[in-house]
Subunit: 332 residues, 2 copies
Amino acid sequence: MIPAPYLLYLGHSTDAVGIKTSRGLAVFRRDACVGEFRYDDCPFTLDLPRMSMAEGAAAGARTLVLGIANSGGKMGDDLIADAVAALEVGMNVAAGLHQRLRDVPQLALLAEQRGLQLFDVRDPPADLVVGNGYARAGHRLLTVGTDCSVGKMYTTLALTTALRARGVAADFRATGQTGILIAGGGVPVDAVVADFISGAIEQLAPARNDDGWDLIEGQGSLFHPSFAGVSTGLLHGAQAEAIVMCHDPMRTDMRGIPGRALPGIEECLAMNLQVARLTSPAVRAVGVCLNTSAMTPEAARAQCDDTAAQLGLPCTDPMRFGVESVIDRLLA
Amino acid sequence: MIPAPYLLYLGHSTDAVGIKTSRGLAVFRRDACVGEFRYDDCPFTLDLPRMSMAEGAAAGARTLVLGIANSGGKMGDDLIADAVAALEVGMNVAAGLHQRLRDVPQLALLAEQRGLQLFDVRDPPADLVVGNGYARAGHRLLTVGTDCSVGKMYTTLALTTALRARGVAADFRATGQTGILIAGGGVPVDAVVADFISGAIEQLAPARNDDGWDLIEGQGSLFHPSFAGVSTGLLHGAQAEAIVMCHDPMRTDMRGIPGRALPGIEECLAMNLQVARLTSPAVRAVGVCLNTSAMTPEAARAQCDDTAAQLGLPCTDPMRFGVESVIDRLLA
């Protein structure tokens, strides 16, 4: 386990979606966060006290979380320099980029000298096996999306909390760096060797017989030209009884692909059900979750109602309106 | 480059599909093969002289190729012992399993002591980037399949040869261990980190402006619960103008998944075209290639004719009847 509490890194980030790991921890593990570290050119705040590295350490932070994501996952010199600064004031460092902290010789050496630890959250488990798609016991729900970073993790966490509130056994199964940091475990599915995508998910959410639910965090989109392979293997490995579609109505282009439009929700839902049927013939959609954070409450309400009417499914913004309507449909 | 000539390993293999790398080299690089190494319990031969390790080395073999594949790609003790024996008589060792030769300390040490090399063909390139799906110049064809190991590599090689015979510039782009050993280069797409599947193929077959063709070897199947993620990313990365469907009419179950039936060719073709359209909206199917090696010539001919009539596409067995009909359709 990664020693808490945390100092959350924003650095020079100017991309609201790129800071989603720091933001996710600030929202879902707020009690474990002492502050945020950012430069003057970063326009964002997590509404935590702004601290230097030394101030963070003095406030009790045991780990600096480099909670920023960038397509491709490489570390720049500025990020490495800040990780060095954290180690020098006595903090461990955690990150979820494709490039491993421990593969940066300067960091590996310094951590060893200071008796500190480097946590590479995106390290996949060592002993993965290929998936097989055979029917297994248990209830599983998977969140899917029209694009990357449209709220699949938030939705999955909200559904888990809501199921538990109804007395139903429910476990969040994390598949991305932020979810893994929040849950304290999981499989970074985009970092496994390609042959093992579905097998990794079969291992993450194995057969269960307690009538409870595994709620599996989705990744990417079947319509994203960079990552659809991951989304496909995730669908097959999840063998989900139910899927929930996530979408950001304000997104104009696919994440990282300027000029490429998002698919329609209906088209995307149909494709996800078609692909999912390979390992879960009776899969059904139980709801749509929108990220309406940039809309007025009235516009958000109208958008949810319109989408629900159009698709014949419950539609909500989990952060704004809760997920009870989706849970009702799920348990109906 | 891996020093030729080769001694081809069959070992104790009793799975005709599992020896496809050794068989592929025996067929397509026969001049580079001096013999085969097998135990008495192996029922297969490549019609090469049977040799011990010492006899292989004495006959001039410079590399033992562990040309066998198993789902998951782990090495057993018997395989390691045979690799040791090869090193001890002075041969390099090449393999394409997920488990790396160099990660077996005994092999790494022995190779270093003897001044010999270990070749892990399944090592992906170091500097992959994520795909983007933007339109790029050039003609590309991808082979797809109803299952793993149904003849995609053979078909791709046959199409490359046939195009060249017509004076068309054409290059085989290998994506699997056997193809890479035959071609001397390529990308082992099932071994790349999941986020980089489509990006790896964009790098393997970049824009070309000479009016020639890249013929990309497909992997897996959209209907294979273990590997469909790889096949999906491959389709998106290939951005193929044309696809050719490969199928083994004698296959009763999906490779490695006893009890799971293969999809129909028509259903599989439709799904491949649907997925491919994300990055290649005008993609078209130009033929079906069957592996009829277990059928009589009459039955094979009838099967091809029936399939062609049913789908309205040229259908052939590349090894038996050539691929001219497919090339005609491709260039029409």
